[in-house]
């Protein structure tokens, strides 16, 4: 690293200092406090508290549902982003702001409304129950809530990239005799690939940490529909701060590894 090298832009030292201070105060310090907490349990204690069947089941549900929700949000978000950018239709402005609603809505409100809709006596729930589909108070409910909160991340990440996507590349493909599907598959999707991956990562990360909207619709049954963040809260209520922190660190490390892998993949994608 050559920090001393003169940059064209002035104020490098000042801005770097501010950035580092800010990151330390807002991100690193709380994380350090979290990471320091579990050690009072000892290594074996931490291992023991993380390998209980109930904890494993909760982690499986949290990461599984978040990954599935993100996987569903990617094609869905692509479709919505594409329509928003490429087409002009009445009510577009309104639809555009509706997409941000899951971000603005307090998550508890989202959870309560989703539960009211999907409960066996709710508007949608009442239609699904005769078909044998139960959404509220099952792992499926967790998935629905995570799709809801994750969607805006994918759409908002894709939109600017689609705006920048040169339409002439598609037109050139068409004049060279490519079918519509071929254009989509060989021209459009590869250009969007890295962003799709990034959107997947953002939706996944959000889903793993989501608490407010999920606890209302999940049913919270141990081993079945109990998410990892709820287990953290339960441990706190039992005044087991170290156990809660251990689980917190575990979710953090897992998320970090997954996001790192996605980043890698993204870079490889971008190079090819």
């Amino acid at each position: 690293m050559r920090l001393a090298r003169r940059s064209v832009l002035p104020g490098f030292g000042l801005t770097l200092g501010l950035t580092l201070t800010w990151i330390s105060l807002i991100v690193l310090l709380p994380l350090a406090a979290l990471v320091l907490r579990p050690w009072e349990l000892g290594i074996s204690g931490i291992w023991h508290s993380l390998t209980e069947p109930r904890v494993l089941a909760a982690l499986r549900l949290s990461f599984g549902a978040a990954a599935l929700a993100a996987a569903i949000n990617v094609p869905l978000g692509l479709l919505i982003a594409w329509v928003m950018v490429r087409y002009r239709f009445p009510g577009r402005g309104l639809a555009d702001s509706v997409i941000d609603m899951p971000l603005a809505l307090p998550t508890a409100v989202a959870g309560i409304s989703l539960t009211a809709l999907f409960a066996p006596k709710g508007w949608i729930g009442a239609l699904l129950v005769p078909l044998g589909i139960k959404v509220a108070y099952t792992p499926l409910g967790v998935l629905v809530a995570l799709i809801f909160v994750g969607l805006p991340f994918v759409v908002r990440m894709l939109e600017p990239v689609i705006v920048d996507l040169p339409a002439d590349a598609e037109e050139a493909a068409a004049t060279l005799g490519a079918t519509r599907l071929q254009t989509l598959w060989r021209v459009v999707l590869p250009a969007l690939g890295p962003t799709l991956l990034a959107g997947f990562g953002a939706a996944l990360a959000r889903g793993v940490g989501e608490y407010g909207s999920v606890i209302f619709i999940a049913g919270n049954m141990p081993m079945v529909s109990e998410i990892a963040p709820l287990l953290i809260v339960i441990r706190l209520e039992q005044l087991d701060y170290a156990g809660a922190a251990a689980l917190g660190v575990a979710t953090l490390v897992l998320s970090f590894v997954i996001l790192l892998l996605i980043n890698r993949l993204q870079r490889r994608f971008a190079r090819s």
Binding site: K121, N220, M223, V233, E237, Q238, L239, G243
Partner: protein, 338 residues
């Protein structure tokens, strides 16, 4: 400008006044913070009004009483993390014990006031839908096929722990009961539970507003409140043959009142709960009064049931480890093959 000068002079005067006069006749009224659990909102709203009036009549001092409500465990944790509660009025002794263990109040707190420091009691009852369509009359009826039981999670809710103990009390009193038969009953009971809310109010909402389940295991006071709020026509209370004597305890938090100088008023506040006025307010809010005269007056509202006490389970310390701590009976219900 004259106004700021005036206020500054008044402030200096007030400051001097507090230094000269030892009695706390400062410009700022004394405040008291009562940290409580979920279903007591209505009770303490009424009680605070009465106490403020009584304290004014006795000492001439006007005070302000603030309330904070949450699940009992969450409230205890908030106090532990620094919420300056002058008094705590929680759902179970274990939560105040947790504060005592960490030095916030004396270990003998439960002997400092009469009746285990629990000025009022309650019990656990069944709330069923109108006409009792599933014919639920006692604990074994909860295991009937197709009956869905609503109770919050005992890990997070004090009320749910009393529910759990009430079920245990019944199972243990059955002829020929063994540890295995008791565990089998609890296991079967929780397999009828479709949702575990984190607190008593959440469970009440699931049952009363979302139409979930056939029977709600609830605080007696909460069952009365639901029938008052949602109309007498929709729900019925069923009294099981055996239940548990729930003793929600109260205590002055020593470390807070000594720092804030509020010990006198905090102690008077809790003692007022034991006076006929305090007992009357508790009874009106559907808590069972301790005072025999008031209890006799409300005998029609609170029928007699056979009640087990926490002593039957060896006290909270033992009950907590055996049933609710990690690896306890409640955890074992859900872990397969253990």
């Amino acid at each position: 400008m004259a106004t700021p000068l005036l206020t500054r002079r008044a402030a200096i005067g007030a400051a001097a006044g507090t230094i000269v006069a030892t009695a706390a006749h400062a410009a700022e009224p004394t405040t008291l913070l009562n940290v409580s659990y979920d279903p007591t909102r209505e009770l303490y709203r009424d009680f605070n009004r009465a106490f403020i009036k009584a304290w004014k009549a006795k000492t001439g001092e006007t005070i302000v009483v603030n309330q904070s409500h949450n699940g009992s465990g969450a409230s205890a944790r908030a106090v532990l993390d620094g919420l300056p509660a002058d008094v705590v009025t929680l759902a179970l002794a274990a939560d105040i014990d947790a504060l005592a263990k960490r030095g916030l109040l004396a270990a003998d707190w439960q002997t400092r006031l009469p009746d285990n420091a629990s000025p009022y009691t309650s019990t656990i009852v069944f709330l069923v839908r109108k006409g009792n369509p599933k014919q639920i009359h006692d604990w074994p009826d909860l295991l009937k096929p197709g009956v869905e039981v609503i109770t919050p999670n005992p890990k997070t809710s004090g009320g749910a722990r009393w529910n759990f103990l009430a079920a245990l009390a019944w199972a243990r009193r059955q002829p020929g009961a063994t540890d295995a038969s008791v565990e089998a009953y609890i296991r079967a009971l929780f397999h009828q539970v479709p949702v575990l809310d984190t607190g008593a109010r959440g469970a009440t909402t699931s049952f009363a507003q979302r139409d979930l389940g056939d029977v709600l295991l609830a605080w007696e006071n909460e069952a009365f409140l639901v029938r008052k709020e949602f109309g007498e026509t929709d729900f019925e209370t069923v009294l099981p043959s055996v239940s548990v004597l729930a003793e929600p305890p109260v205590a002055v938090v020593d470390s807070v009142v000594d720092k804030r100088g509020t010990r006198k008023v905090a102690e008077a506040y809790l003692q007022y709960l034991y006076t006929p006025e305090g007992q009357e307010i508790a009874a009106r809010n559907f808590y069972r009064p301790r005072d025999p005269a008031i209890a006799a007056k409300y005998a029609k509202v609170f029928p007699t049931i056979t009640l087990a006490t926490i002593k039957d389970f060896g006290g909270w310390d033992k009950a907590q480890t055996a049933y609710f701590a990690d690896g306890g009976l409640f955890d074992r219900i859900y872990v397969p093959g253990k």
